[in-house]
């Protein structure tokens, strides 16, 4: 009885997984087929689309730009969020409620609305921000902040921060030493998990990149959008390369968040 029940459950789970995996599998096969038109099976298998993609300097540049912008936004995020959270949790714990509310604000405005708002706000600014990577770094910072804040705040809550700081002080450590030697290493897992997760979705961000910067600073998603008219095999290779990269980062994030729970 139990066995047939289990079989049913397994079949449902694997069925759904298989169904969801099918488009990716199809895209992958399409990306390695030389041509696949009017026949059931492809004419032949080849890696030429991947070679073509990875030899295209425009792709490499777009990919590097995406990495650079996401990395810069996340670096900014970490540099601001870590000390901020430490100050809130250690010195002003009552502010936690206010920050929990504030941090939800970026979710309240849809990306299209906020990008139009940003365009209006910065269009006449003394510094020409629109169309430069700077505005994108700033915007990515605001969308990554809630994720980073939540993950790191959870790590802080699981630490017995006051007692740890007190015992470090009594053992002769300054607040700075205690932060770097004790607090920071204990936040490492939460921080890395949130970094990898945020990195994955920032890399795939399209709306802000398209509205605020567009082709003036071509990121990976803009490149993908611009390449939609070329060969389907080529864009499939692009999507699979991109997917493999994201998959790797998501796997890293889940590995680190598993570590946090332990």
């Amino acid at each position: 009885m139990i066995k047939s029940d289990q079989l049913y459950h397994y079949s449902v789970v694997y069925g759904i997984c298989g169904l969801l995996f099918l488009p990716i599998l199809a895209t992958f096969f399409y990306s390695i087929s030389s041509s696949w038109g009017a026949t059931i099976l492809p004419d032949g298998l080849t890696f030429k689309w991947y070679l073509m993609l990875w030899q295209d300097m425009r792709f490499i540049d777009a990919f590097s730009r995406s990495l650079l912008i996401s990395g810069a936004a996340l670096l900014l995020c970490s540099l601001l969020i870590l000390p901020l959270l430490f100050v809130v949790f250690y010195y002003f714990p009552k502010l936690q409620a206010l920050f929990n509310l504030l941090i939800l604000l970026p979710f309240a405005v849809p990306p299209v609305v906020s990008s139009v708002g940003l365009l209006q706000l910065y269009a006449d600014s003394a510094f020409p921000l629109v169309g430069t990577p700077w505005i994108l770094i700033g915007t990515y910072f605001t969308i990554a902040v809630p994720f980073m804040y939540r993950a790191i705040a959870n790590s802080f809550s699981s630490l017995n921060l006051n007692d740890l700081m007190d015992s470090a002080h009594l053992l002769g450590a300054s607040t700075r030493q205690a932060f770097f030697l004790i607090v920071l290493p204990n936040l490492k897992k939460g921080l890395l998990a949130s970094l990898f997760l945020s990195f994955s979705f920032l890399l795939g961000e399209f709306v802000f990149a398209n509205m605020l910067v567009g082709t003036r600073y071509e990121t990976l998603q803009i490149y993908l959008y611009n390449m939609r008219q070329t060969s389907g095999h080529f864009t499939s290779a692009l999507v699979i390369s991109y997917f493999a990269f994201i998959f790797f980062f998501t796997w890293l994030a889940s590995r680190f968040s598993r570590g946090t729970q332990q």
């Binding site: 630490l159 017995n160 007692d163 740890l164 007190d166 015992s167 470090a168 002080h169 009594l170 053992l171 002769g172 450590a173 300054s174 030493q177 030697l181 004790i182 290493p185 204990n186 490492k188």
Partner: protein
């Protein structure tokens, strides 16, 4: 001047007074317990001594130095927390070595001191283990070792045993006392458990509502409470008002009267006493422990050691180690076992 002198110490949180006019002295090597109900200010007083809270008024002198305005880092005070407060990212060895590293001691000296202290707290073999992998009792011993290794002038223990279960608690209690005696370490222990206070302390400071209401040895506080609160907190005193006391005893008594249950004698009506009692056997007291209403003596007699419980009556003065006495056995209560 005493090793530790506290004068007119006062602390407020906003409008609320946590403690005021706290005065006491502690001699070097003494084991003092701050005893009192939850919320009486004992933990805040301990943290103020450690420098983790500022005080509003008063002075703290340790070893001839006024430390009132010093940072916690500069006070040379070790502390063990109820929550252990072990650093989760460090192994047992790294946790214990942390204080010495902060003192910038050479690593060879650190290793030597750490292994010595690990042996003292019986944690051999656990050096490379992380705190998450230890039991509660082991964690508390690491915390103790970490506080001891820096050779503090005073050791503060903030309810270190309250998160542990009874057998471990009892064992660790004895271990703390043995280490304190061995190192002749001035120790201030916070607890709300009177049995713990009485078994460990040289002197007890009993606190209530931010005041030290009585200080003295365990025996003094237990047998001579100076107010109704102390009588109510220590043991199970019967508290009678003047009228009740006068009626009961046929004496003219003013104020409240406290009577310990064990100082009331009971004689069963019609029962014959003087049953099968053995002949007296000479014995010598080895040690004593005050367990509230019971005094537990370790005595040596005719080549064997016995544990003897006596009710803690004022008429039975506390016999010191080395005192001679005689033992009598009720032959009806001897139990043969296989």
């Amino acid at each position: 001047m005493s090793f530790v002198t506290v004068q007119h110490l006062e602390k407020h949180f906003g409008e609320q007074c946590v403690f005021e006019n706290i005065n006491f002295t502690i001699e070097q090597g003494e084991f003092i317990t701050l005893l009192g109900p939850s919320g009486c200010g004992k933990s805040t007083l301990l943290r103020s001594l450690a420098g983790l809270h500022d005080v509003d008024a008063g002075n703290i002198w340790v070893d001839g130095q006024n430390i009132t305005q010093l940072q916690a880092q500069q006070r040379d005070i070790g502390m063990v927390f109820q929550s252990y407060a072990l650093f989760p990212n460090m192994t047992v060895q790294q946790n214990i070595a942390f204080g010495l590293k902060m003192k910038k001691m050479p690593s060879a000296a650190i290793n030597k001191q750490v292994s010595k202290i690990i042996e003292l707290v019986e944690l051999n073999g656990k050096e490379k283990v992380y705190p998450q992998q230890l039991s509660g009792g082991q964690k508390q011993r690491v915390a103790l070792a970490r506080a001891l290794v820096v050779q503090p002038k005073i050791l503060l223990l903030d309810e270190p045993l309250s998160a542990l279960d009874a057998p471990i608690r009892k064992h660790l209690r004895q271990q703390i006392k043995a280490i304190q005696t061995e190192l002749n370490l001035t120790t201030l222990f916070v607890t709300h458990d009177q049995e713990e206070a009485m078994t460990l302390s040289d002197r007890i400071f009993l606190m209530n509502q931010g005041q030290i209401v009585q200080q003295g040895s365990a025996e003094q506080i237990y047998t001579q409470p100076n107010n109704a609160f102390v009588a109510g907190f220590m043991g199970n005193y019967n508290l009678l008002n003047a009228l009740q006391a006068s009626q009961l005893l046929g004496l003219n008594i003013n104020g409240q009267l406290a009577i310990r249950p064990e100082s009331i004698y009971v004689r069963e009506i019609g029962r014959e006493y003087a049953p099968h009692i053995s002949k007296p056997t000479p014995a010598i007291i080895q040690n004593h422990q005050l367990l509230g209403n019971i005094i537990r003596y370790q005595v040596k007699t005719q080549g064997c050691e016995l544990c003897v419980d006596l009710l803690n009556r004022s008429s039975e003065r506390l016999l010191q180690p080395g005192s001679q006495l005689e033992l009598l056995f009720n032959l009806n209560e001897l139990q043969q076992v296989s």
